[in-house]
């Protein structure tokens, strides 16, 4: 192989490497940024906890939001409550959670709540 051929092959490899780098960088920059969705979901979960403490959550109300809510009293004897009830079977992918002390007529309790997209 002559010197010129060796140089050309080396340049070709360098071009392939650079091209691959550009493709990878371009693909990476096309990924969707998450934005503020998680913040919004966390705020909405806290909204639902406020509504639960002031008026009580019902199935119809939560289902119209397009989200699932799971409410569980910490240290309580009862089972977790799912709103709407069909969410008991749905996969809680990307769930945001919070704990809150909620006081109702019957007394106060510490609740763990989770929210995910239906």
């Amino acid at each position: 192989m002559s010197k010129g051929q060796a140089f050309s092959i080396e340049a070709l490899f360098a071009l392939l490497a650079a091209g691959s780098l550009l493709v990878v960088a371009s693909l990476h920059s096309r990924e969707r940024s998450e934005g503020l969705e998680r913040l919004y979901e966390y705020e909405l979960l806290n909204d639902f906890l406020q509504v639960e403490s002031k008026a009580g959550l019902n199935e119809g109300f939560v289902s119209s939001s397009g989200f699932c809510v799971k409410l569980e009293e910490i240290g309580g004897a009862g089972t977790a409550r799912f709103l709407p009830s069909s969410c008991e079977r749905s996969e809680p992918a990307g769930m945001v959670s919070a704990t809150r002390v909620i006081c109702r007529e019957a007394g106060c309790g510490k609740f763990r709540a989770g929210l995910w997209r239906d």
Binding site: L15, S29, G35, Y40, Q50, A55, L57, S65
Partner: protein
Amino acid sequence: MAFPKRFRCEKGQAFSIDAAVAAVLVLTLVVVGWRGISVAAGDASFANSRVSLQAKALALADFLVKQGAVYSSDGAYGKAAYSHEIDSERFSSLDSGELARVVGARSACVELLRAGEAASCSGGACVKRAAVLHESGEACFVEVCVE
């Protein structure tokens, strides 16, 4: 049978051919790289403006459910705002133009929705926050859209 002579280029010829090939490769790199960078910059700019609009919608909705549209009363230490308890009268008197100006958006649309009601507001970014109506204790949504 005479075998063909192996091509042996002179030093100057080899360098010229190599430089020509390298120039073509570099030019290709520059063109492809320039286009890739332009696309990436465009995508980044679009993502940034989308997040910025989302942030405005979130900030406005947060203000409304915690302060701007809630029931308030005079207390021992001044005015007390009842977070997440919407005062319908106060909500109706909101000026969406002024709200848009405060968050730095071109326009804003806000509405109160009961469960099951469809939203009529639309815009670049919309958020829906849950609250209760102070008068009736009924759960409701505050829909905010900004453009």
